[in-house]
């Protein structure tokens, strides 16, 4: 683990009161605060840390400008949270008036009881599970009547296209399933039975909430805050008594996801010191470990790129591969074309392709200034050539 990730993880253990006391507190400051800040930013932890600084937490050696930046992020998120609270109340009232049932997931489901203040848990939308695809559509219609409009189209996902209220800017994802590939109707029914009241809404009970958090991590797109989500899993796990823990294991088996739970919780436990499960090293945990270190830092693939340029794009391209492919010898030759997306670092879109051969994989990545070829399975070879030549 890099010093920056170790430092950040220790802070999070302190904040969430996780693990042994010796592992908490403010460890020696990392030498690279830029990378530390990039990890914080990419895990959407700025408001949490900023708010804790405002509440009196001290982080030894932190540059003053960075502390101010974090405090500003907390203030920004506080105003977002203020609107979100009012908008969520309106959303719940709309669904209740339509006679619909729902379960609040992810951020909305943990903001109230895992965090000291609403500004600490940044979220881009509210995720709700409806009991059936029909209920999902009915909820969509009710929300359309209340001013929500389709924000962007996402065909084939396990939720409807995100809806957004153009006044409050609250975005909502109405889920009819929890994973891709989908859970069976029977499994969904099992989970739906775990609905408990929470404030003005509904959420899963603690074991089911933790299971869904773990499933979500395994289903995560590449640009979601993995460290934060794992720490939240740790915080949820730390609340479970022995009986609830057994209940969680039974539930995971019932819905056929015990393996995923074990893999996610073994890593969460390693990071946070929370109770966990033992899992053999797997492609998923390998992939997650790599993802934890990606942001703002050259990966094994990207190390050596001029000025680190393109690192995020390499990580992005790498992360879009199904975890099971990482390190696995591929028998077939294929070329995938991945359309690069603008990354958090504001880099320009680029194209990357993956060529997989027997026992090796070659990633071709092109930027405006050049092209690099990486061969992860063959070691750390990294080759840069000027753009415009043979695409290789």
């Amino acid at each position: 683990m890099s010093p920056e990730l170790a430092h950040l993880t220790a802070l999070l253990r302190t904040i969430f009161d996780l693990g042994a006391e010796d592992d908490r507190g403010s460890p020696p400051p990392p030498s690279d605060w830029h990378r530390w800040a990039a990890l914080v930013e990419s895990n959407r932890l700025s408001p949490l840390l900023g708010n804790r600084l405002s509440a009196g937490m001290r982080i030894t050696g932190m540059p003053e400008a960075l502390a101010r930046e974090l405090a500003a992020a907390a203030a920004e998120e506080a105003r977002e949270a203020a609107v979100r609270e009012v908008a969520l109340a309106g959303l719940r009232a709309t669904l209740r008036a339509a006679g619909l049932d729902w379960i609040e997931l992810k951020g909305v489901a943990v903001a109230a009881d895992l965090y000291a203040a609403r500004c600490e848990r940044a979220m881009t939308d509210a995720d709700l599970l409806l009991p059936s695809p029909e209920a999902c559509l009915a909820a969509g219609e009710s929300l359309a009547g209340a001013g929500f409009r389709i924000a962007r189209d996402m065909p084939g996902h396990h939720h409807l296209a995100p809806l957004r209220d153009h006044s409050t800017l609250l975005a909502v994802e109405l889920h009819h399933n929890l994973t891709a590939p989908p859970l069976s109707p029977a499994h969904l029914e099992t989970l739906w039975a775990r609905r408990v009241p929470a404030g003005e809404g509904w959420r899963f009970d603690d074991p089911a909430r933790l299971l869904h958090h773990a499933l979500h991590i395994a289903n995560d797109p590449v640009d979601t805050p993995l460290l934060r989500n794992l720490v939240e899993c740790g915080a949820l796990a730390a609340r479970l008594g022995a009986e609830a823990w057994e209940d969680l294991e039974r539930l995971a088996e019932q819905v056929g996801r015990r393996g995923i739970l074990d893999e996610v919780m073994s890593l969460a436990s390693e990071l946070t010191g929370c109770p966990g499960m033992k899992a053999a090293p797997s492609p998923l945990t390998f992939w997650m470990r790599r993802r934890l270190e990606w942001h703002g830092h050259p990966t094994r693939l990207g190390r050596g790129a001029p000025g680190g340029e393109g690192t995020g794009d390499l990580a992005h391209a790498e992360g879009r591969l199904p975890p099971a492919w990482i390190g696995a010898p591929a028998a077939l030759c294929s070329v995938l074309t991945l359309r690069g997306r603008k990354t958090g670092a504001g880099r320009q879109p680029l194209r990357a392709g993956l060529s997989v051969g027997a026992g090796s994989a070659t990633l071709v990545h092109r930027t405006d200034t050049g092209r690099c070829i990486c061969s992860p399975a063959g070691g750390d070879r990294l080759d840069h050539r000027p753009a415009g030549g043979d695409p290789g």
Partner: protein
């Protein structure tokens, strides 16, 4: 509810009233949103209080929900401004919101759309000191159906560079993003709806120390004014119906760029913008 030393009820947006309970929160809110709410509007109400911490500051709660920690009392007012502004904008369905100042003399108003850090607030301060009526230095609301503007009843917000223009005494607040901040409540503050026809001209202020000593007024072509207005429309043209039609109407007014080296030249130029019909 009565207005007491430890309670302030302020109008935030067209249909939004806020309640700030307990000092130092109420005092800070009174400084930022000085116009006390009149009567009991049918709109939404949001209530805030501060759960104090021993060394100052505390946890700010909205309707009982903890929003954030405040490190010291000096951080309260800028936070109140941020939260109040975003609630005003986003809890005003049906209203269009422009990032602009609005100042008037008598029943004629000058709209001042401009980007942040362009000197809007400093110009508004100079105009307010010359007897102009203040209707906002940051946000202006417009309802296309009712055909009215609504002022944003916030005090002028001035950053450190403008402090020499203010009286020496006065509270200095701190914002982690903007640095030191002071608030100024103009003597003549408009707190009621302004019929659309009373906004007679549009001027984009441009503070430029290198401009001629007498400043200059340049006409702004309607298509460029339209582009600038779309940029300053909060939430973009998709926010509400009638946005583009409203912009078309605004572009039919005399539109100018007001380039100035500071007060008092800016005041003279603004007056010309308001008085010259074409």
């Amino acid at each position: 509810m009565p207005v007491t030393a430890t309670f302030h009820e302020a109008t935030l947006g067209p249909d939004l009233v806020s309640e700030w309970r307990g000092d130092p929160l109420a005092a800070a809110a009174r400084e930022v949103f000085p116009v006390a709410a009149a009567g009991s509007p049918a709109g939404r109400r949001v209530g805030f209080h501060l759960q104090p911490a021993p060394g100052g500051g505390g946890v700010l709660r909205m309707d009982g929900t903890p929003l954030c920690s405040v490190p010291a009392d000096t951080h309260l007012a800028p936070l109140i401004e941020k939260i109040g502004s975003v609630l005003a904008v986003r809890l005003a369905p049906g209203w269009l919101v422009l990032h602009a100042g609005l100042m008037g003399i008598g029943d004629r108003f000058l709209l001042l759309p401009a980007e942040r850090r362009s000197g809007k607030s400093t110009l508004c301060l100079a105009l307010a000191r010359h007897g102009w009526t203040y209707a906002g230095d940051d946000l202006v609301f417009f309802h296309p159906g009712r055909r009215v503007f609504h002022p944003f009843c916030k005090a002028l917000t001035l950053k450190e560079g403008s402090f020499p223009l203010l009286p020496a005494e006065g509270k200095v607040h701190f914002d982690p993003a903007r640095g030191p901040i002071r608030y100024f409540a103009p003597e003549h503050q408009c707190d009621s709806a302004i019929p659309a026809g009373r906004v007679v001209a549009l001027a984009t202020p441009l503070f430029d120390p290198a401009s001629p000593p007498e400043g200059e007024i340049r006409p702004l072509a309607p298509e460029l004014a339209a582009l600038s207005l779309v940029q300053q429309l909060v939430g973009g043209a998709a926010r509400g119906e009638g946005a583009l039609e409203w912009i078309r109407e605004l572009c039919a007014l005399p539109c100018r760029i007001l380039r100035h080296p500071g007060a008092p030249v800016s005041v003279q130029l603004a007056r010309r913008c308001l008085e010259e019909r074409t």
